[in-house]
């Protein structure tokens, strides 16, 4: 089963790449590959030119301080038996040169960065709300001073008004600390707020990839168009594109031949079932893999 099938992208410093798609598209596996939670079957992940899966020893330890993660579920991501300060300090354990006092100072620093009071340090996860827990998860990720943070659906389990708080926070942190983000999400409106570039995935492949503004202004791939049509706008008079796809999302275990999207594609042509389309540049910094182009 090809969870991720020939995916290529780059993320620059202080840049956010949004990775969008529905279940089975491979976005979570992609993020896990970046975190070294999975091994690639082929291809490489390079951080500053170095193959992360070839790292060993001290270089590997350093990698883990350079790339951190925040996951979707605020309820299970924090150890319920540890005080917040101990959870956050765990990230600093990697760098053994930090003293105990140094650790506490760092804990307070990151709590401040995520907008939590210092009193939070001595408390336990159950005392906090979902939004606050995501802030704590973010603080843990920031503790080791990373360069890249993988955010896997960081706000989808949160209430709408809290999502806005966290998104604003992410934007602020990126500006202040020159952070790079890989934002894996399914909500297009959320991604639009912080991603500079966005890639759309379907069954393990990137079907379209462009500067966010360009993608949102003119989505080209039929699947991207369907995703946009399905992103119901909070506006009853927004122009409605009722592109309702037929059928189910196919299983990645047995994907359709040629272009994986052809069975559900309203524009499918004869060659679509035989030949997988290549990613082609059709506009400045805008690539799409579709026989229509």
């Amino acid at each position: 089963m090809k969870a991720v099938d020939g995916v290529s992208f780059t993320i620059g410093r202080q840049e956010t790449l949004g990775l969008v798609g529905e279940s089975g598209c491979g976005k979570t596996t992609t993020s896990r590959l970046l975190l070294r939670l999975e091994e690639p079957t082929a291809g490489r992940v390079l951080l500053d030119g170095q193959d992360i899966h070839a790292l060993r020893g001290a270089a590997l330890s350093r990698y883990h301080t350079r790339v951190q993660a925040v996951f979707q579920d605020p309820w299970s991501s924090l150890n319920p038996r540890l005080r917040i300060r101990d959870t956050i300090a765990e990230a600093l354990v990697v760098n053994r040169r930090v003293t105990r006092a140094g650790k506490l100072e760092r804990v307070e620093e990151v709590l401040h960065q995520v907008g939590l009071p210092l009193s939070a340090a001595a408390r336990y996860p159950h005392e906090f709300s979902g939004g606050q827990r995501q802030r704590i998860a973010l603080a843990s990720a920031l503790a080791a001073s990373p360069e890249l943070i993988v955010l896997d659906e960081p706000v989808s389990a949160l209430d709408v008004s809290i999502r806005a708080q966290i998104m604003n926070l992410l934007k602020d942190l990126q500006a202040r600390q020159q952070l790079s983000f890989l934002l894996v999400a399914h909500n297009l409106a959320t991604v639009r707020y912080i991603a500079h570039r966005t890639a759309v995935m379907y069954l393990g492949r990137i079907v379209e990839h462009a500067a966010t503004e360009s993608l949102y202004r003119s989505p080209l791939h039929p699947y991207t168009k369907a995703l946009f049509a399905a992103a119901l706008p909070a506006d009853p008079d927004a122009p409605r594109d009722d592109m309702i796809l037929s059928g189910e999302v196919p299983s990645p275990i047995d994907p359709p031949s040629g272009c994986h999207f052809h069975p559900r594609c309203p524009f499918a042509m004869e060659q679509c079932s035989r030949v997988a389309p290549e990613l082609k540049t059709v506009a400045p910094e805008h690539v799409v893999s579709c026989h229509l182009y």
Partner: protein, 330 residues
Amino acid sequence: MTAAPVVLDVRDLRAYLYTRWGVVRAVDGVSFSLREGETLGLVGESGCGKTMTGLSLVRLLPEPAGRIVEGHVFLEGEDLVTKSESEMRHVRGRRVSMILQDPQTSLNPVFTIGDQILEALRLHHPDGARALAARAEEALRRVKVAAPEQRMRAYPHQMSGGMKQRVVGAIAVAGEPRVLIADEPTTALDVTIQLQYLALLKEIQARTRLAMLFITHDFGIVARMCDRVAVMYAGRIVEAGPMRTLFRSPRHPYTQALMASVPRMEGSVTRLPSIEGQPPPLHDLPVGCRFAARCAYVDDRCRREYPPTMPVGPAHEAACWRVEPSPPSR
């Protein structure tokens, strides 16, 4: 123009949960009505009481802690609050149905889809086995399940999330209910599947004229599905009105702040307004307006006294001291 008849009339409903931490006033004086063929959206964030409201309507509050302490739920004139449990068993699934977020909890994993639909149909149709099987296949066809004859023999685990929700929908409408309560039915579905499912619900509603209470936190769904909207906060409805009116001119500060915090697909991407703080805990509610601690327009009266619900436009009301009430129309 005559409005459609009212099918469900909820009056001053209060449902509390008696826990060791105190009394959780989950539903604390909620009133609304549902008309035939119409969809009312019940919106709010987690902990506002919208799910408990839905459960109260069919008397499915968690026991023994949950209880309806006051109020009425008139279904075509009959008060469901006063009915016995055995009477309610005849109401659920037949006159009022409910679909939940997670199809796993609604479908029995050890029975086939066919058996579960037949069980629902049998209650309503005294037909023979063959006629019932035909009805069951037709029920599946109506929710766009392909190859229904084969699907009848399938088990829930063999189906995708979207298909399971469609089966749940088929079971829910098998008894031809007058009211359907949908509690976040698409939250666990992929967006393209969600779109299919919402279109299906609309189609079923157009065909059967059922009244729908759609519980959600998603304003995109509200804009697509709802005729009227009621916004809940800390156990009470703070604003209610026609859907377009709520989007164009929300009057309650909470509604305004909530809508402003929803990310848009166009327009500027600078800062997204958010609401500082959190809702008060339902077991420890403040005197006065419950949004006071987070409201930009708060004054002393707001903190001292809970505001009455006031008309602010045609069929539009809000519970706020700071809005200009308008004379009720008609």
